[in-house]
């Protein structure tokens, strides 16, 4: 890593860190620490949700999956973006109108049950940990490529995991949701800027997207494999047509017929159950604002993923012809094909922007990791600090004690995830998975979509949902997802195994069916009518709008009076 990369990296990280510290909450209110005072506007919240959601899996993983699998890798981008459609249709608005601190808090209050809250805390923590580990892996991979050396005798991968985890843990512990909201919004804009710059640089160099896809599709898809310690290129078999090789522009490189659907359904259903993303909706001022925020997110996600897919294709097309011109590519490639597909975007950055370009893209990757880790840690803090400590361990806790409990949770969870990430070695998994980061994040989506989303949607739209039904649904959904995944890992990811590795297509309907069956045999909460009015009525929204209009009218009148007074004088 040279001076230019280092300057770009340090400058951008200082901007983001300084912003978090400058706007950190000054008080010790839990509403401020967890929900930024519930006054986050549509554009800011949409950008913050994108910063939260677009993790290493989106920034490095989507381009990597496209790079290594062609069209089958594009399904990751499609699924990640599509996940916000069910969020918009079924979840965002009622969730905000009900207005609690976290998903477990929402389910606990809606179903009037502490048992539901505690089971939901368990499921949420599992999802958060499954999502945190690949982020930490992504930061290690990025450090490896960007800096290339470790600190204090540690390997570059270990150093990257430890430094990024420690930095973001500090920012979240002291910045809370208010600081995190603004840093996530700025982080997303930096992330988008890095992609847009790279897209302009690539297209400006004469890259033709359509022609590149056609050229790549004309030849069999090849990828590096490690055979007896030696790297060599091997043709990727077509999973849709036996005995033939896969093509970049056609499906079959990664998934068979069933696998494509299973992956998409897993990603689509998973988003609505992601605690760090759903918690952001509680920060909107009204339910209608939460709805419009999701429309913005859909637009921004479309732009982001369309660029990521194009750049994954560009990396596949351009890197083989650039090896002669850029000798440093030799150690990263096998006959012009990258050994680690997650290197696709950083390599493009270095090809088109030199060391500063590498610094910008790698910083974008670290930012993607850090903003997602921040959201996950906050969701974890809200869950432990509010749902467990305040409700069960110390119901008499002061606001200060509750906030410190949240901060302690942030530290413990971040160290647990870093520990798990350090136990993994991405090199050993690259040959098995299309993109290790994207694949691992898919496991978190599978758990969220199987255990939480069905119960969540039923609790919002079906009055008869009961606490016992929700507990049964969450437990069955989580167990089914984990059991199917373990079975898939044992029998391999071919045929039925594809579906077992992305289990939501079976586990979610099963969880929904169990929730309905058990709910029909048990009692609904006594104050259901009030809960229903709170969740689906718009009176609170109208009241907030009325106050806002009166405030604006008051400010206008003050301005007018001041203008008249000045004129008289």
């Amino acid at each position: 890593m040279n001076t230019a990369s280092l300057v770009v990296l340090v400058s951008l990280l200082i901007i983001v860190g300084g912003l978090a510290l400058a706007i950190r909450p000054r008080g010790v209110s839990t509403l401020d620490f967890y929900l930024a005072g519930q006054r986050v506007g549509v554009a800011t919240n949409a950008s913050a949700i994108c910063g939260d959601y677009f993790s290493a899996a989106s920034f490095l993983g989507v381009a990597a999956a496209v790079y290594v699998s062609g069209l089958d890798g594009v399904w990751y981008a499609t699924g990640f973006a599509a996940g916000f459609v069910p969020v918009l249709l079924f979840v965002a608005t009622p969730l905000r109108r009900f207005g609690e601190f976290s998903i477990p808090d929402f389910l606990g209050r809606r179903l009037a049950s502490d048992r539901v809250r505690l089971v939901a805390v368990g499921v949420v923590q599992l999802i958060i940990l499954s999502y945190l580990v690949p982020q930490a892996v992504g930061s290690g991979i990025t450090w490896q490529l960007l800096v290339g050396q470790g600190v204090g005798g540690l390997s570059p991968y270990v150093t990257g995991v430890i430094i990024s985890t420690a930095a973001i843990t500090g920012l979240v512990a002291f910045g809370g949701m208010r600081g995190t909201t603004w840093t996530q919004a700025v982080q997303f804009l930096l992330l988008l800027a890095a992609l847009v710059w790279l897209a302009i640089a690539v297209l400006g160099s004469g890259f033709n997207y359509g022609t590149a896809v056609a050229d790549l599709a004309a030849e069999p898809l090849v990828n590096p494999v490690n055979v007896d310690g030696q790297w060599e290129l091997a043709t990727t078999p077509n999973r849709l047509e036996a005995e033939s090789s896969a093509s970049f522009g056609e499906p079959g490189a990664r998934y068979g017929g069933l696998g494509q659907f299973a992956l998409i359904i897993t990603l689509v259903m998973g988003t609505a159950g992601l605690p760090h993303v759903m918690n952001r909706y509680f920060t909107s001022p009204t339910g209608t604002a939460a709805r419009m925020t999701t429309v913005w997110v859909l637009g921004l996600a479309g732009l982001f993923y369309a660029l990521a897919v194009m750049l994954g294709t560009a990396a596949r097309a351009l890197i083989p012809t650039a090896v002669d011109e850029h000798p440093w590519l030799a150690e990263l490639t096998v006959d012009g094909v990258l050994r680690v597909p997650e290197h696709a975007l950083p390599v493009l950055g270095r090809m088109y922007g030199g060391e500063a370009g590498l610094g910008l893209v790698a910083t974008g990757a670290l930012i993607a990791v850090m903003s997602t880790i921040a959201g996950l840690l906050l969701a974890s803090a809200a869950s432990w600090g509010h749902d467990v400590y305040e409700r069960h361990i110390n119901p008499q806790a002061t606001q200060r004690q509750a906030v410190w409990a949240g901060r302690a949770a942030v530290v413990v969870v971040s160290f647990a995830s870093a520990g798990l990430a350090l136990g993994l070695r991405p090199e050993s998994l690259t040959a098995l998975l299309p993109s290790i980061v994207a694949t691992m994040v898919t496991w978190a989506f599978a758990l969220a979509g199987s255990a939480l989303t069905p119960v969540f949607i039923l609790a919002i739209w079906w009055r008869r949902t009961t606490a016992a039904g929700a507990v049964a649904g969450m437990v069955v959904g989580a167990l089914a997802a984990v059991a199917m995944f373990v079975a898939g890992a044992v029998i391999g990811d071919r045929g039925l195994g594809e579906m077992l590795m992305t289990p939501t297509i079976v586990a979610a309907p099963l969880a929904a069916a169990v929730t309905v069956l058990v709910s029909r045999r048990t009692q609904v909460p006594e104050d259901l009518e009030l809960l229903w009015l709170k969740m689906h009525g718009t009176a609170a929204d109208r009241h907030a709008m009325r106050l806002a209009r009166l405030t604006i009218a008051g400010v206008d009148r003050q301005r007018k009076d001041r203008g008249t007074g000045d004129a008289r004088r």
Binding site: V74, T78, V85, V213, E250, V295, H536, G537, R549
Partner: protein
């Protein structure tokens, strides 16, 4: 009653609104599922879908996965949000006078 004393919804109004919104959401979700399942689904039954050429050298399947579906998600999201907000403002809260106008009249 919900919200502030001067803003409230009745249970009957909210129930009717929930039923309407549920129909809207399920209707849009079915269209969404058909589109998102149709793009990979057509590759299994229609050779032209993955081997034909539309823009440059891209197949219809690649065009939809790389651009088309994102535009579709945004359009369907905007349409559903607009319709849901319109349903709520018609069915809940009754006539809502602008407080700024009230203030002007006083």
């Amino acid at each position: 009653m919900n919200g502030d004393a001067d803003e409230h919804d009745t249970p009957a109004e909210v129930d009717a609104t929930v039923r309407t919104l549920r129909r809207v959401a399920v209707g849009y979700f079915v269209v969404f599922l058909v589109a998102i399942g149709g793009v990979p689904g057509l590759t299994l039954v229609l050779d032209w879908w993955s081997q034909g050429r539309l823009i440059g050298g891209m197949s219809p399947s690649f065009v939809m996965a790389a651009f088309g579906l994102y535009v579709f998600f945004f359009v369907i999201g905007l349409a559903a949000a607009t319709l849901s907000t319109a349903v709520e403002s018609r069915m809940l809260g009754g006539p809502d006078e602008d407080p700024t106008e009230e203030a002007e009249h006083q």
